[in-house]
């Protein structure tokens, strides 16, 4: 299936908000979502944005059952390790269920890693719920190290060789 990975625009915030809620439902915490597309517009597209976002988009011919062409996103921001230096934190990675298995999640993640490498980030970190086996397997397959075993969340890091390999898989612009 053809798809495109691109930087999110302000106009995408309604779709991003939709998908954030879909992810929250999956993570069994929809009541925890307190922000709407308006906060995303304000916080992601101001002079000093709090986050950056990539979108996965399909053509009209492949629209979802509900008519969406924006079918996945990766939301991330830059952080800092006082031991290692610049890092990037992948806050959300999500692909609508009907579009999974097409490499979209991998492409989104790789693109984030590529952007991070361009900014000389030495780590890509994220967290995952321990019962979320498909997600844990997905990240483990990419050489992620599980740094934390917890009652719900795992802190994950990419660095060195696993990060380089992830960058190599980034889709061409």
């Amino acid at each position: 299936m053809d798809y495109k990975i691109r930087a999110a625009r302000k106009e995408d915030c309604k779709d991003i908000a939709r998908m954030i809620m879909e992810l929250a439902v999956f993570e069994k915490m929809p009541d925890q979502v307190k922000i709407s597309y308006k906060e995303l517009e304000r916080d992601g597209f101001c002079q000093n944005p709090f986050f950056e976002c990539l979108i996965a988009e399909v053509s009209d011919a492949h629209r979802s059952k509900c008519g969406h062409t924006v079918v996945g996103y990766a939301l991330y921001f830059y952080t800092y390790s006082t031991w290692k230096g610049r890092t990037v934190y992948l806050e959300d990675l999500y692909v609508m269920p009907e579009f999974r298995g097409n490499g979209i999640g991998k492409s989104l993640m790789s693109k984030v890693a590529k952007i991070a490498a361009e900014k000389q980030c030495v780590r890509l970190q994220l967290s995952v719920l321990d019962w979320n086996s498909p997600a844990r397997d997905f990240y483990a397959a990419k050489g992620a190290q599980d740094l934390t075993d917890s009652e719900g969340w795992h802190f994950i890091r990419f660095d060195g060789l696993s990060l380089d390999n992830l960058v190599k898989e980034a889709p061409q612009d």
Partner: protein, 171 residues
Amino acid sequence: MEFTIRAANVDDCKDIARMITELAEYEKAIDQVRITQRDLEQDGFSKNPFFHGIIAEVPEPHKTKEGHAKVGYALYYFSYCSYRGRAVFMEDLYVMPEFRGKGIGKALMSKVAQLGLAAGCQQLNFTVLDWNKSSLDFYLNQGCTDTTAEMGYHYMCCKGEALEHLAHGQL
């Protein structure tokens, strides 16, 4: 003991690097430290900084034996929770051992909370090593919630009323 809390500037990077090393030694991870004073200068004090810092400083009569007046720091950055919006992450909080017990750590942490609230943040998050009981107790006593029980690190979140109290506790 008198002390001041102020925003870090580029000239503080030498002392911040020194204290990062001290903190890493305490956390038994000195071999993991890769960044230098120069990295801090570039990454914290350029056009799009990766972090912000605040410093705790004591006056002349209270300097350390080695002559240090900068005795504590907190390093933080803004993050984002896709469910709740703007957040602040406190990456490091450190006070030199001989200056502990004087409210400096709490003042630094409160200042971070205050700066976070002023920037519209809904959470103050950080992590702590599970064997670091004195730090864990220090944080839990501020009304924080331990949202993650882990092998080594605990993911901490200060929000709502606890965050308000922390920010208003600022000296």
